[in-house]
């Protein structure tokens, strides 16, 4: 059984995240953690914008916050978001990764370590290669890897880099991600044989 969904997005990510999250049912049974590349300074209303567009709750992640189902947690601007072994969230000001903070790799790698086969990782649109290493770790730890079809992405680089680096489980057009996710967490369409 899946316990958590981790999503990484960069250029074009706002639209992509809105599409994915707004397509999820309100009773989506597992928490979602999100890194969207953003400018480090200033206020970031990403979580508010997404919250208004979706049935599940979307909020900015707080340090040492426990995760709840039906909720998506977004990395604050200027901080890495990581998952602890006990499934709580933590923030870090450690150096940038792939020139980004927040970066997708630290989230994916720590979530893979915490959840193992219980994690679904998703790489969406973006103009760099962040997330590819993290998705690799998710597969090493037995998790499930989904990548947005680069042809349906506003910026194809990031999903393409993930596909080149990892044997992904699914490549999906953007509009199909949420319905597939909803089925997957209910236990349908899980083909990797990972124990749950």
């Amino acid at each position: 059984m899946f316990e958590c969904v981790a999503i990484g997005a960069s250029a074009g990510g706002l639209h992509a995240l809105r599409t994915v999250l707004s397509g999820l049912p309100p009773a989506f049974p597992v928490p979602i953690v999100i890194v969207q590349h953003v400018e480090p300074k200033g206020d970031c209303y990403l979580s508010e914008i997404l919250d208004r567009a979706t049935a599940i709750a979307v909020k900015e992640a707080e340090d040492k916050e426990p995760m709840h189902s039906q909720t998506a947690y977004v990395a604050p601007a200027g901080y890495h978001l990581l998952i602890e072994r006990d499934g709580t969230l933590s923030l870090s000001l450690d150096e940038k990764v792939n020139f980004c903070r927040p970066a997708i790799d630290p989230l994916f790698e720590s979530a893979a370590d915490a959840f193992g086969p219980g994690l679904i990782g998703i790489v969406l649109t973006g103009a760099n290669a962040d997330g590819a290493k993290g998705l690799m770790r998710i597969k090493e730890q037995g998790g499930y890897a989904i990548v947005q079809n680069p042809r349906s992405a506003e910026s194809p680089c990031m999903p393409q880099a993930a596909i080149d680096a990892v044997r992904v489980d699914r490549v999906l057009d953007l509009e199909h991600v949420s319905s597939f996710l909803a089925r997957l967490v209910k236990g349908f369409g899980h083909e990797t044989g990972a124990d749950g």
């Binding site: 316990e3 707080e62 040492k64 916050e65």
Partner: protein, 301 residues
């Protein structure tokens, strides 16, 4: 004792909105290696990282392991146990100070507008800046107190467990190149003078002027292992506790609560919170966004 959490079978909470109370220890081999390594460091060198936030600790240890050319954490442990010079270099990996003068200008504006007026109700104040790293924020506070004409009535105790960082802090010498950003922060924090009035430049270095340093005492203190620091009116501890797990955060917050006078202020990093801590009830919020708290309770005698 290494804390090994109860291994539970993975489970999804089916209840709507229920907390994911998964206490799980997947016990992958690297995770065992890391636990052993941290325990070894604690027993061999007295530095206790066992209650640091695991996720970022693991990333740093992965860097340290790769830099040293090892495949396994247990190999790294072996070297750390027997090679003191190697351990000293390793220790620098473990605390990566990221700091600026007037970091988060909006926070320092709140210090000017809401914290300083509280301090000014006392004839003399003691301030503890815990985890001061290389000192940029210590001097930022000193500048604010100076501009409020209050520095001469304050004593700032600035502590850190990283001796290299403390040395830098005490010298108060920074690359001139950083000053452009610092000056921008200073103005955004409500500074009306010129930051350059507070340092002297020579070649590519900027040296904080003596009057700002006179009221500051730098000393070694490890939040993970050391004790209370007397009757403070204000405690600064910014972006330090995000590297600790909840257990160690609770320890440190109890330490602060025991060190802070009633009515004294506690300033955390802008993304840190008392919300998930045990001492939450002992504080009221002075500024919710900038994470400035004031200790309540007890008599005001």
């Amino acid at each position: 004792m290494i804390q090994i959490e109860e291994a539970l079978e993975s489970c999804v909470c089916p209840e709507p909105g229920a907390a994911m109370a998964l206490v799980r220890d997947r016990n992958d081999i690297d995770s065992i290696g890391i636990d052993l390594l941290l325990e070894g460091i604690r027993r061999r060198w007295g530095y206790d990282f066992t209650h640091y936030s695991y996720a970022s600790m693991r990333r740093r240890l992965e860097h340290a392991r790769r830099d040293a050319g090892f495949k396994r954490f247990t190999e790294l442990l072996d070297r750390l146990l027997y090679d003191g010079a190697f351990f000293d270099r390793f220790l620098k990996h473990m605390s990566v100070p990221v700091t600026e003068m007037f970091r988060d200008p909006a926070f320092y504006r709140v210090v000017r507008e809401k914290v300083v007026p509280v301090l000014k109700t006392f004839p003399f104040v003691k301030i503890w800046h815990a985890g001061c790293a290389t000192g940029e924020e210590v001097y930022s506070l000193a500048i604010i107190l100076y501009e409020a004409d209050f520095l001469s009535r304050a004593r700032i105790y600035a502590t850190d467990f990283n001796k290299h960082a403390l040395d830098t802090a005490e010298k108060g010498v920074y690359p001139t190149g950083n000053m452009v950003q610092f000056a921008e922060n200073y103005r955004a924090s409500g500074g009306t003078g010129a930051l350059s009035d507070y340092y002297s430049s020579a070649y590519d270095l900027a040296k904080i002027k003596e009057p700002l340093k006179e009221r500051v005492t730098f000393s070694y203190h490890n939040l993970a292992t050391d004790g209370v620091f007397g009757e403070m009116n204000l405690i600064f501890c910014r972006n330090v506790m995000i590297y600790f797990d909840q257990t160690l955060q609770d320890r440190v917050l109890s330490l602060f609560t025991a060190s802070l006078r009633h009515g004294g202020c506690l300033c955390l990093g802008t993304k840190e919170t008392l919300n998930f801590s045990k001492v939450k009830e002992e504080y009221e919020s002075v500024d919710t966004r900038q994470k400035v708290y004031r200790r309540t309770g007890g008599s005001l005698v």
